[in-house]
Amino acid sequence: MDERPVKLACRSVWKVFGGGAAGLFAGGGQPDDAALGAGNFIAAVRDVSLEVLQGEIFIIMGLSGSGKSTLVRCMTRLIEPTAGAVLFDGSDLLKASASELTNLRRHKMGMVFQHFALLPHRTVLGNVGFPLEVQGLSKPAREAKALEAIELVGLAGREAYYPAELSGGQQQRVGIARSLVVEPDVWFLDEPFSALDPLIRREMQDEFLRLQAVLHKTIVFITHDFEEAIRLADRIAIMKDGRIVQIGTSEDLVLNPASPYVEEFTRGIPRTKVLTAAAIARPAGKGPFAGTVPAEAKISTLVSEVLSARANAVFEVKDSNGRAVGQLSAKDIVAVLSTEAEAP
């Protein structure tokens, strides 16, 4: 598998709301559903274990109320988990002292919020410079950095605007700029685009991918929109009632859903957007080949090229190292397209 180091990990993390919840974990055990039901408890996160690798986009998905926000706040310790461990660069975040935590947040973490959470009394420049101000940077230094970040998200020229004068999309750009200005290692985004119109959302997703192509951050991204997830994700974790049901690439989730719940999520999604050339490739023959396609290319991007070739032309599928992993033909692509058409 992937040999990148683990940046952030959860080990059996629980968050149970309600007085005396800590008592449920006395003696090191874990509560069962009966114990949780007995008191006035709300178990928002249940026994979650996961690993986020350096430089990947890790998406947490689930319906409203499934505990996504609570989980990501446990990872940043905005909410104190009831039990479990959160390892940041291998050391337990939950054991960090208040000042260590503040330092981590100042230098290693950035977060973007669903409703932007901008400070209304500060200009764009003031908002973006805020995290640096809190660290005690001098005014010229922080304004220089803030201007860079504003430039990066395409808001140059609006430095003097106040949040109330910006559109939703622009406000979230400010949210993104200020979370990036400290050059964090891990970037948390809690439904950053959910409050935006579909068109703007699309634009912001592209923007996000563009940024990530430059920055290579480790990203924990929350969404309840599966289409957004497959557009952006390296890996996706699906949550239901506080538990993680399945973790995998979008392809994994579509091809091998762990439960009907996961299947339900992936149902409306066009297969051509999820499956890669490698996934439908057959063992390579000896050719001749009409062309080469990259293994990680999504089918949807290949349709026009392959179908416009000769009727039974065969294409070679090669991975990024140039090794051949198989071949595919127009027929294979038509097969995927036709299962799609049959799906309800």
Partner: protein, 667 residues
């Protein structure tokens, strides 16, 4: 929706049981009357059983002042230190605004630095109005200040203003600090809540007594009383405003790596700023109200002028000073409200250089400095010349004389009719009730509306005046308050209904009640004394005038806030306008109206206490006497009794309105 409404038409199942209990209480009361000779204790609280609380309090006070010693310093040193801290800025402000900086005493006194010129201050008021809102407000503020100069009220008004300029920052800072503490710690909040309740319901005079004892007669005492009096709403608003900052914004602050202090100062307080400004407005207005009242303990200023005029029955002078208070109040209120409502900032090219970046600040300094310099050359700019002053005193005197000559019979007849037929009989009735039954009634009402805890609370609070031997005075308080509230409602609710149904009337009424509400309670005494002299009737008129505002406001608001779809549905089913009013709007607005009545009661009580100045014999008089005798125990015990009456009314009505709102699905 319809399910919610139909439910309300069913009688609650428990009615019969409650009817039985209430009937039982009535029977017991009648029984007590029949056995009056045997159970005299139920009518007149036995003297021997009176709880000597007031002596304990007085003794405690004496101990504080004379004996308490914190080893390094005594309590007296402490109060002196507090006085000193408040006194310095106070004298600075007073010198600057009212007296000028003077060296030497008596005849040798020599003005080193004159006070700020009246032209300059008026100009500053205009500038502040323009800055906060626009030219109209600027002109209004300027006109108010000009009145003060032209009508010879400037000196007193500046004394009053210097108290306010100093009391407000202290009140705001103290309120913020307590509010932040209450927001941060649940335990602090738990302690603060009842204290704030009590502080907001204890009559103002009651504050004065202990403050007077601790800090002596003079402006500092008045300032301290003012600060304490004006602080509670700021504390409450701070707690509320802080808790209303969106959770995400707070989380962002934490993620940006704020320390606790940075989070408070850089994120939370600025985000809550506009709500906090509402609190500042409240502090300003309450300070003004209290500064006027506190003239009695040596603050001087406009309140003092009104008070002396009242005492000497110099109506004309009193009215002029009263008008000055009114205009000062309007100017301060509009200005501070405009600051609270200033639109959010907008971007704009930032001008280079300090002066261009802060044009208003620069202009303000310019005006003050310029007029000050000019004042040396032209006396009239520094101090408004006496010859130019106008007085309307005679005019008012004549009006009052004219009314008294021409309408004396009508006014007197009306007054006597009401006194003989309504007021005195009601007073006798209340005084004749056995205290046992009244306490029982209060407890039962609490039990019925809010469960046993509320019942216990209301019962205990009703018992308190009896325990401390103030029962008859408490009953007189209830009588005057009760009648005033009924009359205020009879006047206010119809006006509110009419305003709710007519847009133009609504706007006119709004302006009137906004203005009425800004007036310090003291001002209301003026016209009343002019027309009715002293006594229960005069007091009642003043109380009604002061407390009618919330009855109007809440009725109007409640009716307007009935959901539009409900009205549409009623119209659709063929209701006439009148039917809609009585069958739909009024029932739905009732909880809101009840809250208005609740406010009316609170305001009536606070005014009632002040009417002790026109000779009523209720708890307020008790406090007033205590004030003149500097008897802390007596003042506090009577003050608490008033507060308890207010709290009983507040809790009962609040519980009822909540219950009702829930039933109607409006909560």
């Amino acid at each position: 929706m319809s399910a919610a409404y139909s439910m309300t038409t069913q009688w609650p199942a428990g009615l019969s049981r409650w009817a039985l209990i209430w009937g039982g209480l009535a029977l017991v009361t009648v029984g007590l009357f029949l056995l009056k000779d045997d159970v005299g204790w139920a009518f007149k609280y036995p003297r021997a059983l009176i709880w000597p609380l007031k002596f304990w309090i007085s003794d405690f006070m004496k101990w504080l002042i004379n004996d308490l010693n914190f080893i390094l310093f005594t309590f007296k040193d402490f109060t002196r230190a507090v006085s000193w801290v408040i006194e310095q800025p106070y004298w600075l402000a007073r010198n600057l605004l009212a007296t000028g900086f003077v060296q030497g005493f008596g005849l040798e006194a020599e003005t080193v630095w004159p006070r700020l010129s009246w032209v300059g201050l008026t100009g500053l008021a205009v500038l502040m109005g323009v800055y906060a809102q626009g030219w109209r407000l600027g002109l209004l503020a300027g006109a108010c200040f000009t009145y003060l100069a032209v009508f010879g009220q400037w000196d007193s008004a500046m004394v009053t203003l210097s108290s306010i300029v100093i009391a407000v920052p202290f009140g705001v800072a103290g309120g913020l600090a307590l509010g932040v503490a209450g927001y941060r710690s649940r335990r602090v909040k738990k302690v603060l809540s009842p204290v704030l309740d009590l502080m907001q319901t204890v009559p103002v005079f009651a504050y004065l007594v202990p403050v007077l004892l601790l800090f002596g007669f003079g402006p500092v005492s008045a300032m301290i009383a003012t600060i304490i009096y004006a602080m509670p709403p700021m504390v409450r608003i701070t707690m509320l405003a802080l808790s209303k900052v969106p959770a995400e914004v707070m989380e962002y602050g934490a993620m940006a790596g704020c320390t606790r202090r940075q989070l408070l100062w850089k994120v939370q307080l600025p985000s809550a700023m506009s709500s906090l400004m509402v609190g500042v407005n409240q502090v300003v207005m309450l300070s003004l109200n209290m500064v006027i009242i506190a003239s009695m303990i040596g603050a001087g200023g406009l309140g003092f002028d009104v008070l002396t005029a009242l005492k000497r029955l110099k109506i004309g002078e009193g009215v002029e000073a009263g008008l000055a208070i009114t205009l000062l109040a309007i100017a301060l209120d509009r200005l501070s409200q405009a600051y609270a409502r200033r639109p959010p900032p907008a971007h704009g090219a930032r001008a280079e250089g300090f002066f261009r970046r802060y044009p208003y600040l620069t202009a303000g300094f310019g005006i003050i400095a310029g007029t000050w310099v000019l004042g040396y050359g032209f006396e009239a700019i520094a101090i408004y010349p006496k010859d130019w002053q106008v007085t309307t005193g005679l005019f008012w005197d004549n009006i009052v004389r004219w009314i008294n000559i021409n309408y004396f019979d009508q006014l007197d007849g009306f007054k006597n009719a009401l006194l003989l037929n309504v007021m005195i009989p009601f007073k006798r009735f209340l005084l004749s009730l056995p205290w046992v039954a009244v306490v029982g009634m209060a407890a039962l009402a609490g039990l019925r509306l809010g469960g046993w805890r509320l019942g216990l609370l209301t019962g205990a609070m009703a018992l308190f005046p009896a325990l401390v031997g103030l029962w008859p005075k408490a009953m007189v308080t209830v009588y005057l308050m009760g009648l005033s509230v009924v009359i205020a409602c009879l006047i206010g609710i119809p006006i509110g209904i009419a305003a709710a149904r007519n847009e133009r009337l609504h706007r006119i009424v709004q302006v009137c009640i906004d203005t009425l509400q800004t007036l310090p309670s003291f001002v209301y005494l003026m016209p009343v004394v002019m027309l009715f002299r002293v006594g229960d009737f005069a007091a009642m008129v003043a109380v009604v005038a002061y407390s009618v505002v919330p009855a109007i406001r809440y009725t109007d608001y409640g009716i307007r806030n009935v959901p539009a779809h409900v009205i549409e549905a009623a119209t659709q089913s063929g209701c006439t306008r009148r039917q809609i009013l009585w069958k739909v709007q009024m029932p739905l607005a009732l909880p809101e109206i009840m809250l208005g009545i609740n406010q009316t009661i609170m305001m009536a009580l606070s005014m009632l206490v002040i009417t002790a100045l026109v000779g009523t014999r209720e708890l307020g008089q008790e406090v007033y006497i205590a004030l003149t005798k500097a008897d802390t125990g007596q003042g506090i015990v009577a003050g608490i009794s008033v507060a308890f009456i207010a709290i009983i009314a507040d809790r009962l009505i609040g519980a009822w309105a909540n219950k009702r709102k829930k039933q109607l699905g409006l909560a």
